[in-house]
């Protein structure tokens, strides 16, 4: 924890954009949260760990990607609405340009057997990555045996019975939220 260290003053919009652009360009491999903490808490000292964890828990509660949700929340804390805007653009711009370029390159070279072989290989590897994300997410949120039932029911409904996702999300979500509903403490 770096709570004892003094925080730096909020940055200018240009500086905020630049720092998020650098993180957006260097956070290879998806672990954006770790890059964000190193950049924002340790290197720039714009946030303390307590605030970082608080913003992260908002990001994880809401829909949306952690990386962009964090950019919005941190940008807003530091420089208001414009701060949220420039931080998000900075975070997304490098990957967006790369993946747009990838689409055009794919149009030219995607049918080449060597590219196909490479892409087939990384697709198999990416499935391993999805399963890891599932296990890590599960370790954080699955607490009771019923939670595992919700996981299996959701996955089976979507992947095997072709139930549409919004219906599953509403039905399973409502049941799961009701299962964990706040209960009044029983009187002594």
């Amino acid at each position: 924890m770096s709570d004892t260290q003094e925080l730096a003053p909020p940055p200018s919009l240009g500086r905020l954009f630049w720092v998020f652009l650098v993180m957006g360009a260097t956070s290879l491999g998806g672990g954006v949260v770790a890059y964000l903490r190193t950049g924002l808490v340790i290197r720039q000292r714009w946030l303390d760990d307590l605030t970082f964890v608080e913003l992260l828990s908002i990001s994880q509660t809401l829909p949306g990607l952690n990386a962009t949700n964090m950019s919005i929340l941190v940008g807003d804390r530091l420089r208001g609405g414009m701060g949220a805007f420039v931080a998000t653009i900075g975070m997304c711009l490098p990957g967006a340009i790369l993946m747009t370029g990838a689409a055009f390159a794919y149009g030219i070279g995607g049918d080449d057997p060597w590219s196909k072989a490479f892409l087939h290989g990384i697709a198999a590897g990416a499935v391993g990555l999805i399963v890891v994300v599932m296990v890590q997410l599960g370790a954080k949120v699955l607490k009771t045996p019923a939670d595992y039932l919700f996981v299996v029911a959701t996955a089976a409904a979507v992947a095997f019975f072709k139930v549409s996702v919004p219906i599953v999300l509403l039905a399973a979500g409502a049941i799961a939220i009701w299962w964990h509903r706040p209960r009044d403490k029983s009187p002594p």
Partner: protein, 177 residues
Amino acid sequence: MKQLWDLAGVFAYLSLLTVGGGMAALPELKELTVNTYQWVSFPELLHFYSLGQLSPGPNMMMVASIGAVVGHIPGAIVALVAFFLPTGLLTFAVGRLWTHLATWRWRPAIQTGLGSVAVGLVLAGAIIMGRGAITDLFYGAIGLAVFLLLWRTKINPAYPIIVSGLIGMGMHYFGLG
């Protein structure tokens, strides 16, 4: 022009399904872009998705690739804005109201309840993507090896995924792939 509106509608809708992260949207992403609108084939979607895991920044920047396939650079921009704006505005608003919500008694219930559904959606995504990418035992072994490596070590996921691609090329060289 109609295609840009379709892109905007599809990705704005997918945006709202990203509970617990972008991977929760995978099942519906496949359904809409491959089956309903036929913007990309299933192998193309798999390829863009996996390339996206190698790109820096948020892990779903592959929406720009699909947008670009449909409508070039305007398509990429429309897909990105549509995918990030709805949840972005929600996050912005909730971030400002958070002091009121932090102690809301239903919050832990919503977080835990939606959490297990999100894990289920990621599992469904893994099954659906696996059907396309794991075409035989050998590719299953690649996926399993990447899983074990990332689960047991703190290695950057980009490295084993690149190695998977090189193994794929090696299989092609030996006439196995």
